[in-house]
Subunit: 342 residues, 2 copies
């Protein structure tokens, strides 16, 4: 899986429009800071690490147009405001601004560009390290599966893959690592209602990478584990609190409970920047409720390839749409970061 | 909730086409045994108790056309073959045939009709009894909720409501009972992927009955229980094995695990005919895998009210679609039947 989700051609920043995936693969070019802001706000790019990198290039592109500190501060704030809850976004913008301060005005555009490129490169290296640590952690599981003459069976929820980062992903990094090493594995992909990131994004990128996978309803994981069809569960996460609780896409917790009930290891992969030592426990995190329309309506491709939006919930009934849930630290068997397993 | 899902006008058998719900409310008339067979096969009617009643009327309608035992046996078999795994279906057909044997040929059509009507009436009475027993069981929960100044919060999965039976339903019967008694309650309705019976059928019938409810993704239940927003979980079931394991719509097990983790009572409602004393445990039940297309595609209503089918899973990726899962007896706090709670 050598594909990049964001890449440069000369000094052009290119990425995929993820709102059109998996049905249309459209490359978009980010030519100015407004393009970057729009791509984040409309979720053409998503995934905390990827958003951070796009915002970093946004600041750099802004500096090509304007050099006055007031203008740059205003551009930075506009970028941060696109997804105000994304921790990586603010972190990346601040880091580029900090780098810029060190240079005289004429050199600032280039300094910002280099800082953005460095954030991008660090993301790739971080995920590669997560992949190595995860693959090592799974070696005994893989051996057991091999002895039984079957592939390693991994279940994942949502998309913490290459599309959420610049490359490789977090939760999917060990999978890509083992796949490239020729190890037989098969991934159960949770559909991940209501935004279907599993069915649309994870399935799409696993297929491109040639990794065997099967999409299942979010409801199916308990049965699969009861039937002995899952060797390990791995997910990414949005925040790890000081006590080790994991805040991740809603539904993660149900899989963690089932994994524990059946002795299936439950692993979480993330960069250390996701660890929030200022928040004591998961219960201290405010869980964002997103627009109920995400549940009431569904997007898909009709027979003639046209993308359509259809209502799936009984008209007149309302919905509640919490985006995340909390998996207590006690249910997490391993946290895999770029620095190793803990 | 006095609505009937199946009713008579003179000797005409009427029901709703459930494949068009919740977007279109279309009454269909079953005028011959072939109509009954087609309605079951195409899932215009679904839910084990309702299927049984429709099949019973199917035999009765067949006897209006043909009286030769060979012809009747062939009609009975054709009805049974429409959904071969539905236990109630065979039971209802056999019961009508048994009644018919007791009468001379000329009186058989009327005897069959009366037997079908009796099965229908028994279903209504059975569900009313389940409703009474369930409401009694929930009295302490209701009192506690009332003391806290909030409605009783019930979570349900799939549709075990009036639409799965002739009236009232099984899991929803205690809810309707309490609602009619003026007790404040609110129902969390699991969407129930992949066939969306919660979002389409349960939401529709609760709304008609004026019961407060909110649709949630199947993924949300763990968080809701962690937040103390669920007082009791109730589901119907397809089979209870001799040891008390519950085979029900896939996803039920994950809710039972979460309920146990948070001390939320987990209740199962069904007629005693659902108890299968010939099968030792849930693991002895073969779990039906349904067509993956149920997961790959989604039906809904577009902006102009046209029903459309759209693909939601990445093209080229496959899906596995197990229809049921197994909840171990140890996680079931109460089994509510027409005879009481056990």
């Amino acid at each position: 899986m050598d594909d990049l989700t964001l890449w440069l051609e000369g000094d052009r920043v290119l990425t995929l429009d993820q709102t059109l995936l998996p049905f249309q693969q459209t490359v978009i070019e980010l030519t100015c800071w407004q393009d970057c802001a729009r791509a984040i706000a409309t979720m053409q790019v998503r995934g905390a690490p990827l958003i951070g990198v796009v915002a970093a290039y946004g600041v750099a592109l802004g500096l090509r147009e304007r050099l006055e500190p007031v203008a740059i501060a205003s551009i930075a704030q506009a970028l941060i405001n696109t997804r105000p809850t994304a921790v990586n976004l603010r972190w990346a913008v601040d880091r580029v601004l900090g780098e810029v301060q060190k240079w005289p005005e004429a050199q600032r555009p280039e300094a910002a560009w280099q800082a953005a490129c460095q954030i991008r490169d660090e993301d790739i290296a971080c995920n590669a390290a997560i992949g190595r640590h995860g693959a090592q952690l799974w070696a005994p599981l893989l051996e057991r599966a091999n002895l039984a003459g079957r592939p390693l069976q991994v279940l994942t929820h949502c998309n913490a893959g290459a599309l959420a980062t610049v490359a490789l992903g977090t939760a999917l990094a060990p999978i890509y690592q083992l796949h490239q090493a020729g190890q037989p594995l098969h991934v159960w992909v949770d559909e991940t209602r209501p935004r279907n990131q599993g069915a649309s994004l994870t399935a799409w990128e696993l297929q491109r990478a040639g990794v065997a996978h099967t999409v299942v309803a979010d409801n199916a994981g308990g049965l699969l584990m009861m039937q002995g069809q899952v060797d390990v569960v791995i997910v990414g996460c949005d925040r790890v609190t000081a006590n080790g609780d994991v805040v991740n896409k809603v539904g993660t917790y149900l899989k963690a409970l089932a994994a524990r009930a059946h002795g299936v290891p439950f692993h979480v992969a993330c960069p250390t920047s996701t660890i929030d030592s200022h928040t004591a426990t998961g219960l201290d995190v405010e869980i964002e409720s997103r627009d109920p329309e995400e549940l009431l309506f569904m997007h898909g491709s009709d027979g003639s390839g046209i993308l359509r939006r259809v209502r799936v919930v009984s008209p007149g009934s309302m919905a509640l749409n919490p985006a995340f849930d909390i998996t207590p630290a006690g249910l997490v068997d391993a946290l895999i970061t770029e620095h190793g397993v803990r």
